[in-house]
């Protein structure tokens, strides 16, 4: 179990003081939407509407809301495979995200990517990556392109690259941070540390379990923040992005949160002790943020219930849309293989001749 569990089992926002009620309400709406979407995704998976691997943001909602509140429209976001919430809060409609899960042509990636590969070039969500850490070198290269295309300053764009705690042990992580530190790239690497890489704890996997400290090797600031505190996450991410866009100073930000359920929807997480499960549940940021907003008078119980209800309705509409959307057409199988048409591109289906007999 992650060290922070022993020190701070109760989730919540440190202080909402000074934050406009509208903003707090908005953040709760977003958290509620992600929660409702992920619960429904789980249900749809159980009903075999969704195939493949399906990793949920349950328990990480404060992190998802905080990070996506910090990035600007002009910034680029790369994520790992636990990406549904980020897609939703980057502005992709629940309809298109659910349709992607259903493998429909109306999905954000035309039904070709599925749960792990949400992508929207206009929203500057550049994936959704299923291979652990696969996104880190391309995100670094996107920052390299930005460095060459733009001048540093408050209006410059930056890249945010999300990764999990387990990802900090792969070579691509270290190679990329070295390049970013060396070339002074406008990028923020965010470790979403939910304490577990599948069933392996950070302590079992990382010789230096204080992951933010790894930034020191690359002359980069390393910052750790409480991932259950939506405002703290947002502020830390904003500060990091500011350094990236204005000073071309890459930053490593570690966000401590909990995964409420198993690694993916099919994982019952039996490797967790009852105590650990209790701690994860106590750390659940959605009910705690809700309770705080009610306690501080930002929301009434009825307001909160109405927000939850609205999120549920929104997700129901997304399910209907996904259900009713068409499958991708068989004749479009090869449609996106090449951007520049090329002579002799293969187009045979299984069992078809590779060429006409002469």
């Amino acid at each position: 179990m992650a060290a922070k569990a022993r020190t701070r089992p109760k989730a919540g926002v440190e202080s909402t003081g000074g934050e406009p009620a509208e903003t707090l309400r908005d953040y709760y709406e977003r958290m509620s939407l992600v929660r409702a979407f992920e619960l429904r995704s789980s249900e749809m998976y159980a009903r075999a509407k969704i195939g493949g691997y399906c990793h949920l943001n349950l328990g990480e909602e404060a992190t998802v809301v905080g990070l996506t509140a910090a990035i600007e429209t002009r910034d680029y976001l790369f994520t790992g495979y636990r990406d549904h919430g980020y897609a939703l809060l980057r502005g992709l409609s629940p309809e298109r995200v659910m349709a992607e899960l259903f493998g429909k042509v109306t999905g954000v990636s035309g039904g070709r990517g599925g749960s792990m590969h949400m992508f929207d070039s206009e929203a500057r969500l550049l994936g959704g990556y299923g291979i652990v850490g696969g996104q880190i070198p391309p995100a670094t290269g996107a920052a390299l392109a930005l460095k060459n295309q733009e001048t540093a300053g408050p209006d410059a764009a930056a890249v945010m690259c999300l990764l999990g705690d387990g990802t900090t042990n792969i070579g691509a992580f270290h190679e990329s941070l070295n390049l970013a530190g060396l070339w002074k790239l406008p990028i923020v690497y965010v470790i979403v540390n939910n304490g577990l890489g599948m069933g392996t704890t950070v302590e079992m996997a990382s010789a230096e379990p204080d992951l933010y400290k790894r930034a020191a090797s690359y002359r980069m600031p390393g910052v750790r923040v409480d991932g259950d505190d939506v405002l703290a996450v947002r502020d830390a991410a904003r500060d990091a992005l500011k350094q990236a866009r204005e000073s071309r100073q890459p930053v490593l930000l570690e966000v401590m949160c909990y995964r409420l359920r198993g690694h993916s929807v099919v994982d019952p997480a039996r490797y967790r002790s009852p105590e650990e499960t209790t701690i994860a549940q106590q750390s659940d940021p959605v009910p705690s943020f809700r309770a705080e907003l009610i306690a501080s008078g930002v929301l009434s119980e009825a307001d909160a219930a109405a927000i939850d209800e609205a999120a549920d309705v929104r997700v129901s509409e997304a399910v209907v849309f996904a259900e009713e959307s068409p499958e991708p057409a068989r004749e479009d199988l090869f449609k996106y293989v090449y951007a520049t048409p090329v002579a002799n591109a293969p187009s045979a289906l299984p069992g078809e001749p590779v060429m006409d007999a002469l």
Binding site: Y76, S109, G110, G111, R112, G113, H117, F119, D120, S121, L126, G127, G128, Y129, I131, G134, I136, P137, P138, A139, T140, G141, A142, A143, L144, A145, L146, N148, Q149, G171, A172, E175, S176, N178, L179, L182, K335, Y336, V337, Y338, A339, T340, V342, A343, N344, A345, P346, P353, V354, M355, A357, L358
Partner: protein
């Protein structure tokens, strides 16, 4: 009708590559080069000589030894509209970057439904015969030729090096550009001015009627040498230079074999599951009825390549091996001066 006469110059394969990189850097400011030792050191094989000096460190970017990192970074820059040309010092080191090439560069456009294109070129030499031992002498072209989403070209002449590299840089897809250590100093006629090859097309580089040799890259030069040698003995050999390993120009291969009725594949990679296996299957499917003999393959011995010159020579396919197999396929007894 233009009266302008096309001029040519005789230059090396290395010089053709260098001039093409220079021309494309000048033509399009989105083009940049990235790789180990390509700037200050001017390239392990001096392909990028003089380019850092003329284009500066933003266009000719020296990368640390981190193939997965800088190949992936080039890919990410391509996602934002840049046109990176990566040099990997040799194809052997591309294995360190293979996740970025195979799992990412090749997949992104399809997996994200055409929302992103990857105008990325990865240049790298393969080839044995330099006594570099097992880890530095491989011909791993099938590893990439196997992957949908990639385009894989392997020029055999300086002229093709120029025209195919130009095409690769202007292409909006990831192109694996395979060079060969033993070709860098080879000379050939290269037309002046802009030359853009069509990727995906093979070329009949010598016509003949008795047998077809199918090859690519370094192998094509050996195939031509053997074909001319056998010409003196009265044999008419056609040579098909694949030029593009993916896509594969099956029509040109089969049209040639339909005419000659005999085929030998000459390849630098290992025999099992190699390029020749694909060519043989293609010929079997396309022109079985026209074959007068089984298709044969002349490929490298299936062993990690030893350092010792004698063993290295024994393992690599050469002109004598090819001539022997051509004669066997044509059912001609080996003459005394063959070996």
């Amino acid at each position: 009708m233009t009266t302008e006469v096309a001029t040519t110059r005789t230059i090396t394969y290395r010089q053709a590559l260098n001039e093409t990189l220079r021309a494309e850097l000048e033509r399009d400011e989105k083009v940049f080069l990235i790789g180990e030792e390509i700037g200050v050191f001017e390239g392990s094989y001096k392909i990028t000589a003089g380019l850092l000096e003329d284009f500066g460190p933003e266009r000719v970017l020296d990368a640390p030894i981190a193939e997965e990192g800088f190949v992936g970074a080039a890919l990410g820059a391509a996602m934002l509209g840049m046109r990176p040309v990566v040099e990997i010092m040799t194809i052997n080191f591309s294995l360190i970057a293979i996740d970025q090439i195979v799992n990412h560069a090749a997949k992104m456009r399809s997996m994200f439904a055409g929302q992103v294109s990857i105008p990325l070129v990865i240049r790298m030499p393969g080839g044995g015969g330099q006594q570099l031992a097992a880890t530095h002498s491989q011909n791993l072209e099938v590893w990439y030729a196997h992957i949908p989403g990639l385009k894989v070209v392997a020029p055999s002449t300086p002229a093709d090096a120029k025209a195919l590299l130009t095409a690769a840089i202007r292409d909006d897809d990831p192109v694996i550009f395979l060079e060969n250590l033993s070709l860098y100093s080879a000379k050939g006629e290269v037309p002046d001015g802009e030359q853009v090859a069509e990727i995906g097309k093979a070329a009949v580089v010598k016509t003949g009627t008795d047998l077809t040799i199918v090859s690519y890259s370094r192998g094509t030069t050996t195939a031509l040498e053997v074909a001319h040698q056998l010409e003196a003995e009265g044999l008419s050999i056609e040579v098909v230079d694949l030029r593009s390993l993916r896509p594969l120009d099956r029509d040109t291969i089969c049209a040639s074999v339909k005419k000659t009725g005999h085929a030998v594949v000459f390849e630098d990679d290992w025999l099992s599951y190699g390029i020749g296996a694909e060519i043989s299957a293609t010929i079997g499917e396309g022109v079985f009825d026209f074959l007068d003999a089984p298709v044969r393959r002349v490929a490298a011995a299936e062993v990690p390549l030893p350092y010792a010159k004698a063993l290295e020579k024994a393992a690599l396919p050469n002109a004598a091996d090819l001539a022997k197999v051509v004669r066997e396929v044509l059912n001609i007894s080996t003459t005394a001066n063959d070996k």
